[in-house]
């Protein structure tokens, strides 16, 4: 049973301004811009666009407790055809090697398969941020075959190799369905030694703490998932939970917000700055608006005012070295080993 979204329950935190105000009202040891300035990295600029990440909508068959998108079955936002076309035109017109498709559950977008086909026909690497359970729904049972046919990299969410923690974050029964989905991907050659079909897993901490060391955890996960379920995969990405949307609500409800933010600030790691995903990614919202990352997108912190604001009119030349818009949540990407959609940064 999916949890209701913040929007559906009329929670004030469904509003991006309320989220920004909540974070802004905290007393932190320093601001993110100050932290960058102290290590000579302010203002932060992008240095290229190597990934075009498109958020095709907020609909999802799950509603996880940590979701920074506030996605769920009751969300209706879907990227319209003219925005889809603009994204693919932008990809075609520029030397951007990777299309990263996210959501919500991106596969619920009515044109998901068409987007994949078109991007692959342009010769681009395509990543699908998959919640795994989508492949267990009857209408999407052939999704793994489709993804394999088009050599799509699957980046799958799984917070733990145990059922209790996974279900606590993602909903009852999610672990069992996720294991079944992973087995299917393995059967098709995903994550299997000698195959070029990439199956990478993403783990977010199930609670108010930072993720563990990625390399050591990957070894544990490979051992445990293979021992318990015979499952193999390529890489494990550890991602820090961002104090945004439903995870922000969780931090408030559990009395952990101030301590969590203090921890992120104290763990600021200057060596993570170079690899920040905002420096190499352009994020497109379902309505075509442009952002420096998916997290900025969810709290409506748009690209800098002197940069293009919409994919409908954007040129890569105006975006490749844009100034990045930052806020207190950015400490989530520089804490400890750093964090990005591709896992740890250092």
């Amino acid at each position: 049973m999916a949890l209701p979204t913040l929007l559906n329950t009329r929670n004030p935190l469904a509003d991006s301004v309320t989220q920004r105000d909540t974070l802004g009202a905290l007393s932190l040891a320093c601001g993110f811009g100050d932290a960058l300035a102290r290590v000579g990295r302010a203002p932060l600029h992008a240095d290229r666009i190597s990934v075009l990440q498109i958020n095709v909508g907020k609909r999802c068959n799950q509603s996880c407790r940590h979701c920074h998108v506030d996605a769920g079955p009751d969300r209706t936002e879907v990227m319209p055809p003219d925005v889809v076309d603009a994204c693919l035109r932008f990809l075609d017109a520029n030397d951007i090697p990777t299309l990263d498709i996210t959501g919500g559950a991106p596969e619920l977008h009515p044109s998901f398969r068409d987007i994949v086909r078109r991007a692959r026909s342009l010769g681009r690497h395509v990543m699908d941020r998959c919640n795994l359970t989508i492949t267990r729904l009857p209408n999407y049972a052939d999704l793994p075959e489709f993804l394999a046919e088009h050599r799509v990299e699957v980046v799958a969410s799984l917070p733990s190799f145990g059922a209790r923690q996974t279900d606590a974050q993602r909903g009852t029964g999610v672990f069992e369905d996720s294991i079944a989905a992973l087995r299917r991907f393995n059967e098709l050659g995903y994550g299997v030694q000698g195959s070029d079909l990439l199956l990478n897993l993403v783990t977010n901490p199930v609670g108010a703490f930072l993720p563990g060391p990625q390399q050591a955890l990957e070894a544990d996960w490979k051992r445990e998932l293979h021992r318990k379920f015979g499952i193999s995969f390529n890489r494990l990405y550890t991602i820090t939970n961002m104090p945004i949307s439903r995870y922000l609500q969780y931090l408030i409800d559990s009395g952990n917000l101030q301590d969590y933010m203090d921890k992120l600030v104290a763990a600021f790691n200057p060596s993570a700055v170079d690899g920040l995903m905002c420096r190499s990614t352009l994020s497109v919202g379902w309505d075509g608006r442009l952002y420096d990352c998916d997290f900025n997108q969810m709290i409506d912190l748009r690209t800098a005012v002197d940069s293009p604001q919409s994919i409908l009119t954007a040129t890569a030349a105006g975006l490749a070295s844009r100034r990045v818009t930052v806020g207190p949540h950015c400490f989530g990407c520089t804490a400890g080993s750093g964090s990005s959609c591709g896992g740890a940064l250092t």
Binding site: F161, F209, L210, P211, A216, L217
Partner: protein
């Protein structure tokens, strides 16, 4: 001061260096080196520390190494088993002293 233990006091641990800075520095360096990855992983060392924290009943250490164990990737199931190991050794340590009691009984009894 109406309580002996305050959770916020953990953050003041460094105050122990105020009047003995050289000793504190030696302790800090040694402590840091102990918990670095070696023949044991950082995760395994954090689990050992968690178990010992329960054996010595240090509330600060329990908080610190609960967080550390989670952040190093241990699951609540693994952490609970670690605490059971500590409890079993504590319980066993008491019980095995019963042999001394029985030896003394034998010495004094007909």
């Amino acid at each position: 001061m109406d309580h002996y233990y305050h959770a916020k006091d953990l953050a003041k641990f460094g105050d122990m260096g105020k009047d003995a800075p050289e000793l504190w520095q030696k302790f800090s360096e040694w402590y840091g080196a102990v918990f670095k990855e070696g023949a044991l992983s950082e995760r395994e060392k954090a689990l050992i520390a968690l178990a010992v924290a329960h054996a010595v009943q240090c509330p600060y250490c329990i908080d610190a190494y609960t967080t550390a164990s989670l952040e190093k990737g241990s699951t609540p199931e693994q952490m609970t088993e670690a605490v059971h190991v500590a409890a079993a050794i504590r319980g066993g340590a008491s019980l095995v002293h019963g042999v001394q009691m029985r030896n003394h009984v034998d010495k004094l009894s007909m």
